[in-house]
Symmetry: C2
Subunit: 428 residues, 2 copies
């Protein structure tokens, strides 16, 4: 026997049932909340054409992608690395069958072949909402942010709170235009996006080197701006950037601020998001008690995601909760809603199985989660094991099976007993 | 602009929201039923080491597998083709942390790179239940069959019914032993498994060629046997095979017949299942009104699935509902439970968004699925579109937003109206 390595591949999540139950409950709550917010779930295939996935992606993504191949068919198929690109393809493909604005939610696993570390898996769950449509009002940016904030509030443990950190890319892009640095915009946004990792001093150092001290300081002045009220927008205007795109960005952001009234939000000009396709509103989140965890939810507005797939232009706005990351960061703070099973029916031997099975059926019809066990003589041992995972246990011996003895349920937590039929009668 | 092919890769399922809602509802019902039957959901990674997936697989599977590779890391990772092999690895890996018998359910997508056709996708959902443990009573075979039969009954449309077709591999293996054909057993079982495809005549022709007429006819005599009651077992014994394994198989099957009392089942000696790892009970299903659809649910007992991963032997019994296949076969018979959304709140302009958003929030707090739309002047047009996907619509103009006019909900189906606050008050 050749012994094969049974550890999951590095970066693949594998949870024991107790943990999975918690994770799943979160996943379900997310979906329920998204649906309540008027998003429709879709699922796109896990395998896509390589050309689809790479149509818009930059160099980083290309390096991370898993190529899928069959010996006969060669390469050209790949695992998706996010939900947004497949959604763009989906919208392009089905544009004549969908009504716009199309509010979609996708909850599933994505794949990135980068180095795995705590909170950064190679296979991970993301929960996305997107609104796609032509001539898309800024209200939809607010809808997306509201939905995500409400959902986060619903799934976060009581000890934690998220703040939405919002900006608008037009502000920095406008500044860059005014400084006549358009040819360096990707580099500049990239450096700013890394601020939390490399520190502000390093950002300044790189910017000075690339664009000179004067312009670097001007950029630094803007990306340092953080605030949550009218005063913030006054200060932003006081900087005196005349550029039209900059002005437009400030106006949009201020209007959005009104539209998301009631959402725990801050405005932070250093928020740019790594991906190229954002063109307006961008947002990340900060966990108040764990800012070091980074963003567990982010997104923004993209004006033309489907350009590789369709002649028609489809603007969209969307965002995603990184459920796997959130779970990794707060794992020990999430508590299971209950035991994995409600009742375990223990048949003393195979002879009592049919009776045990009928009893299980009655309990299942009341919606209980019921397992049947054939235990032999080890009653005490089996009860001790059952305690961990079930609310109730029941033992069916010869006498119970023949009706000579009443069938009773043991409450494994309170260590009390109740007649099975009485209990069922009480459940509606 | 290079136009990229936006069709999903052949064999990948992609459903529009209305269809997905139906599919998802089925998926949820399956899970609920599995859990009610005492199975615990787990998920194993979609990507596994190639050596794990190929440890037990035969030649056919090896050809179908998708290889996953990253340019830097080389091959050696692959997409899973079923849930059973990853479960075996999971059990081997976590054997010291799990309680046995371990009742697991997995509901997710598997991948096979074979030729796609109606009802046979390359990426497909399977819903598995398995019970793993040492010294596993035959009762657990019954538990698996009961769970799957109950679940099928729950998700099938009213026009369709499934019959479990059950056998025990020991019967044919014993016969093969008695006929001294052990070295040809894989070939023989393979031919029998293809009976529905190639026809009984062809089966006989191949068997005659391979093992001679006398032995071929003996095999044919057994695999023709079908029945559902005591008489069937009498006839099976009358064939007069002395072999011990054969006798054991008949006894097990007869005992199982008692244990699954009440389940719609038949015994069919031609049921062998393609995969190598089954060693006892095997079963498939037949849809009464669409026998040509083939089996939508199958499984069996395996004595030693973890042999490649662990020194300890873990017998198991399990089965799987091929949800994607079932859905493809009966697609038009499944009916959606309701509209995708409950309410669409239409703001006449961005000015009314905040009020619309607050109203949406109130309705969402009552559990309704609510979308907010900014519509401009096209009220009639928007209401016509909304009719398809929402129960109710609501229009928020200047007067409604300012409180001058009562906010009313239009029932898009009955075309009646009701005051929003009255409606909310009636909902608990």
């Amino acid at each position: 026997m050749k012994k094969i390595n049974t550890k999951p591949i590095s970066g693949m999540s594998e949870l024991l049932p107790e943990k999975w139950a918690i994770f799943k409950e979160l996943k379900q709550k997310v979906l329920t909340s998204f649906e309540r917010n008027g998003f429709w779930e879709i699922e796109t295939p896990i395998i896509e054409r390589g050309e689809v996935l790479l149509a818009k992606a930059g160099g980083e993504t290309e390096k991370q992608i898993y190529r899928v191949s069959k010996v006969e068919e060669g390469a050209g198929q790949a695992l998706r690395f996010d939900h947004t690109v497949p959604l763009a393809r989906y919208v392009a493909e089905h544009q004549n069958e969908l009504n716009f604005p199309f509010r979609a939610t996708q909850i599933g696993r994505n794949f990135r072949g980068e180095r795995a570390q705590k909170g950064r898996l190679r296979e991970f769950y993301q929960c996305d909402v997107d609104i796609i449509g032509s001539d898309l009002s800024l209200c939809y940016d607010a809808e997306v942010i509201r939905t995500l904030a409400e959902t986060l509030a619903e799934i976060l443990p009581k000890t934690e709170q998220a703040v939405m950190m919002v900006s608008n890319r037009k502000i920095l892009m406008g500044l860059i235009e005014e400084l006549e640095l358009n040819d360096k915009s990707t580099m500049i946004l990239g450096v700013i996006d890394k601020r939390d990792k490399i520190g502000e001093e390093k950002v300044l150092e790189i910017l000075v080197e690339e664009v000179g001290e004067e312009k670097a300081l001007r950029i630094l002045e803007v990306i340092r701006m953080v605030g949550k009220d009218k005063l913030f927008f006054e200060n932003l205007r006081k900087i005196g950037v005349k550029n039209k795109m900059f002005q437009e960005g400030v106006e949009e952001l201020e209007l959005l601020a009104e539209m998301i009234e009631g959402v725990e939000a801050e405005f932070d000009m250093a928020i740019v998001r790594g991906l190229d396709y954002y063109t307006g509103t961008v947002f990340e989140t900060k966990l108040i008690n764990r800012p070091e965890a980074g963003s567990v939810c982010s997104g923004g507005r993209y004006e033309n995601l489907t350009s590789n797939f369709s002649k028609r232009v489809f603007p969209g706005v969307g965002g995603s909760i990184g459920l796997s990351r959130l779970f990794a960061v707060l794992e020990n703070e999430f508590v299971a809603g209950g035991k994995l099973g409600d009742l375990v029916v223990m048949a003393m031997s195979e002879k009592e199985y049919l009776v045990a099975s009928k009893i299980a059926k009655m309990a299942r019809e009341k919606g209980m989660k019921v397992a049947v066990l054939v235990i032999g003589k080890k009653v005490g041992e089996e009860l001790a094991i059952a305690e961990k995972n079930y609310e109730f246990a029941m033992i069916i011996g010869e006498e119970e099976a023949s009706g000579k003895k009443e069938i009773r349920m043991k409450n494994l937590q309170s260590r009390t007993e109740v007649g099975f039929l009485d209990y069922l009668g009480d459940k509606k």
